[in-house]
Symmetry: C3
Subunit: 321 residues, 3 copies
C-alpha cells in the first residue's frame, strides 16, 4: 500500500497520449470527495460535478466535456471511459487485492500461544503474519485467518472458517465453514478485455454479532462491508460487497443481500429472501420469507412477495378467493 507512481507512468499504463508538464507523484487512489494531494480520482457523472470543482486530488480521470470543471491543482486525465480507467489504475496500486492468495508467512503455534492471551485453537490452525487476536478467543479446527485481520476479545470461531481482510469485534460468534472477507464479485468487460475491480475494503463484524454456517460475506471494493452489533445471521447466507447491515437484525437461512445494499437497525428477514443491489432498507423493517425486494423500503414497513409488496396487500392478493 506504500506504492507510488509518477503520473507519466500511469498515463502510459492507460495508453493515453497526454503530456504532463511537471513531475507529479501519485500515491493512492481515492473517491472524489475523499481525495487529497497525491491522490488520483475520477468523475464519470454530472451528479458529482460540484465535488469535481473542489477536489484536492492531484489528478482526476474524466471525459472530455468535464475538463473545464477540473480545478487548477488537479491534472485532468481525459479518458474514453473514466470508470474503467480508474479501475485499471486501482489495479496498479492494489494488485494484491484483485484475486485472493494465501501467504506463506504463517505464525508458529508457540508464538500464537505466547502472544494471544488465553487463546484456544484446534488442529491445523493457519494464522498468517500480521494478525492480531484479543483475549479469550476460541478457534476450531482447520481455521485460516489471513494477514492483518483483527480478532477482538471473546470471539468464538467454528471449524473450516476462512477470514481475510476483516475486523471481528468482541463477542462475535462465527460458525463452521463460513468464508468472511473474500473479494467481491466485481469485474467489467471493456473492448473484449476483462478488467477486475480490486477489493480494498474490509469486512467489519461488530460486537456480539453471529454468523451462521457456510455463509459468505464478501469484503468491500472501495468501502467496507459491515455487519452491525448483535445482528444474527443463520446458515448459508450471502452478503455481497459493500453491504451495510445495522444493529440487532435477524437474517434467516439462505438469505441473499446483493452488493451495496444498506439495511437499518432491528430488521428481520425471513429465509431465502433476496434484496437487489444498491437498495436501502429502513429501520424496523420486516421482510417475509422468500421475498424478492426490488425497491427501497421505508422504516417500520412489513413486506412480502416477489416482487415484495406491503404485507397486507400480499395477503389480500394471495389469500382472497
Amino acid at each position: 500500500m506504500s506504492k507510488k507512481f509518477s503520473l507519466d507512468k500511469i498515463l502510459k499504463y492507460l495508453n493515453l497520449q497526454l503530456k504532463v508538464k511537471k513531475q507529479i507523484i501519485i500515491k493512492n487512489i481515492a473517491n472524489l470527495d475523499a481525495s487529497n494531494i497525491g491522490d488520483i480520482t475520477f468523475c464519470s457523472s454530472s451528479k458529482y460535478l460540484h465535488l469535481l470543482k473542489t477536489t484536492k486530488a492531484s489528478a482526476c480521470i474524466i471525459s472530455k466535456p468535464f475538463e473545464k470543471y477540473v480545478p487548477s491543482n488537479c491534472f485532468p486525465i481525459i479518458s474514453q471511459d473514466a470508470q474503467i480507467d480508474f479501475i485499471k489504475v486501482s489495479n496498479l496500486f492494489y494488485e494484491k487485492f484483485v484475486l485472493d492468495y494465501v501467504s506463506k508467512k504463517i505464525l508458529k503455534k508457540n508464538f500464537i500461544k505466547k502472544n494471544f492471551l488465553n487463546i484456544s485453537f484446534g488442529e491445523n490452525f493457519i494464522c498468517e503474519m500480521g494478525v492480531k487476536i484479543g483475549k479469550n478467543v476460541k478457534i476450531g479446527n482447520n481455521v485460516i485467518i489471513k494477514e492483518n485481520c483483527i480478532i477482538q476479545d471473546n470471539v468464538n470461531i467454528g471449524s473450516n472458517v476462512i477470514i481475510s481482510n476483516s475486523i471481528i469485534h468482541k463477542d462475535v460468534n462465527i460458525c463452521d465453514g463460513s468464508v468472511i472477507g473474500k473479494k467481491g464479485f466485481g469485474f467489467k468487460f471493456y473492448n473484449g478485455e476483462l478488467i477486475r475491480v480490486p477489493h480494498i475494503g474490509r469486512v467489519i463484524i461488530k460486537e456480539g454479532a453471529e454468523i451462521g454456517s457456510n455463509c459468505n460475506i464478501d469484503r468491500g471494493s472501495f468501502s467496507d462491508t459491515i455487519i452491525g452489533k448483535y445482528t444474527f445471521l443463520d446458515n448459508q447466507i450471502q452478503i455481497g460487497h459493500n453491504v451495510q447491515i445495522g444493529n440487532y437484525c435477524m437474517l434467516a437461512a439462505q438469505v441473499g443481500v446483493s452488493g451495496s445494499v444498506i439495511i437499518g437497525d432491528n430488521v428481520k428477514i425471513g429465509g431465502q429472501a433476496g434484496i437487489s443491489g444498491h437498495l436501502k432498507i429502513g429501520n424496523n423493517v420486516k421482510i417475509g420469507g422468500k421475498s424478492g425486494v426490488i425497491k427501497n423500503i421505508d422504516d417500520n414497513k412489513t413486506v412480502m412477495g416477489y416482487p415484495a409488496i406491503e404485507f397486507r396487500e400480499f395477503i389480500k392478493k394471495n389469500m382472497a378467493k
Copy 2:
C-alpha cells in the same frame, strides 16, 4: 449432564425472591409432560394446563395466574416470563450446548485403526473422544467428528465434513463440505439482554439416507432433528433445528426447511423450495421447485407457487392467457 443444583441456587440465578421451605435438588430440565422427580419444567400457555396439573416435576416455572394449577409435589416458580426463565435455567444445565467448541481430546490414528473395524480415512481426520464408529466406514480428508457421535456400519463420509451431536445410521452417504449437528438458530432478546437457547438435541440420520454437498442440518434444541430412511438430499440444503423428515423423501438442491417442520414419507421437494417454520407436510406430497410453503399440506397433494397452492390452480393462474 450430571450437573445438579439446589432450587435455592436456581432462584438466585433467576433473580427471583422466592422462599423454598425445604431443600429441593434439581437434576435436569424437561418438558412438562416428560418431567419427573428432580426435574424443572415450565408452562407458559393455558393450552397445557392439563399437563401442568399432573406434572411430576419438582419445580415448574409459571406466571402468577397459573400458580393454583401446580400440584403439591411441584414447587411453583412465579416468573415474569416463564419461557425466558426456563431457557436461562437450561443454559445453567447445558452450558456446553449454547455455543459449539472443539475438543482437544482427539483419538490417535492407531487407536482408530485398532478399534473401528475395517475403517478407512483420509488425511487430517480429527475424531474426538467418545466417538463410536461401526465397520466398513469410509471417511475422506479433513473430516471432523465430534465427541459422542455414533457412526454405524458402511457409512461413507466425504471430505471437509463436520459432524457433531449426531447418530448416523448404517449405509448413509454424506458428501463434501456438509455440516451436521451444529447448534440451531435460537436466541431471544429480553429486556435488552441476549439469551441463547441451548441445543441439547441431536441429528439422527437414518439408514441409507444421503446428504449432498455443502448442506447444513442443525441439531434440535430440546428434541432431535431427524432425516428418515433412504431420504436423499441434494447440495446446499438447509435443515433447521427440530425438523423431522420421513422416509424415502427427495429434496433437490438449495431447499430450505425452517425449524420444527414435520415432513411425511415419500415427499418430493423441488429445488430452491422453502418451508416456513412449524408446518406439517403430509405423506406423498410433491412440492414444485422454488415454492414457498406457508401452510400445512395434506397427504398426497401436489403444490407449487409462492405462496404454494395446489398445482392445478398454479397452472391455471399462471398459464392462462
Copy 3:
C-alpha cells in the same frame, strides 16, 4: 475403466434368463448413437428407434416390442425396464463412480514442486496421483485435487476447495470452499431397491472462467458438465450434472441450475434465480433475480418472475395499480 465382462455374466447380473449362442465380450457402456463393437447400450423410447436400427453396439437393452428393430450385429437384451437395467450394467463397469472416495495415493510435496512448474501451494495440500498441473498455478490451504484431474496454466485456487474428475483450463479462478466434480444427484428406486446412477462424466471449466465461494458443480452422469470461457459464477451457486453453460455468462449468487440444462453465450442470471431441469436457454438471455424458469427461453429474451415471463409482462403484471 479397462474392465470387460462376458455377455453371459452381464445377463446373470441382471437376473435375465436369456441364452447367448456365441461368446460376446462387452468392454464398455455407450449411448445408442455413440456405441461401437464391444459396447452395450440401451433404447427405451420409440423416439430413438432410427438409431437402434443402425447401432454398432454388440448388445442393446430393450423392451420386448423393440426386439424386431435390433440389427443382426447386436444382441437384443429383453428387459422389463431397459433404463434401469442399463444403469445397473453401468454400475458394473463404473463401480468407482457411484460414490465418491478419496485415494491414499497422494503425491509428495517434493514431487509436486519438481514436476509442476512454478507452482505455489498452501498448507495441507492433498494432491492425488495422476493429477497434472500446468505452470504458474497458485493453490490455497487445505485444497484437495483428486486423481486424474488436469489443471492448466495460471489457474488460481482458493482454500478448502475440492476438485475431482475435472479439467480446469488456463486462467481459471476458483474461490474458497467450492466443490467441483462431485457425483451428481442421480438415483432410482425400482421395486423398492435403490439403484444409483454412476457419474462417469467430468466437469470442464474453460479458459478464464471464475467460480465463486461455496459453489457446487457436479460432474456429468454419462456426459460432461461444462462452464464456458470467461463465464463468471458468484458465491453459493449450484450447477447440476450434465449442465452446459456457454461463454461470457454471468451468474449472480445463490443461482441454481438443475441437471442437463443448456445455457447459451453471454447470458446474465440474477441472484437466487433457478432453472428447471433439461431446459434450453438461448444466447444473450437475461434472467432477473429470483426468477423461476420452467420453460425454454429463446435468444435475446429478458425474463423475470416465477414462473419467469417476459420482462415487460412481469412489470405490467406487478407494477400496475
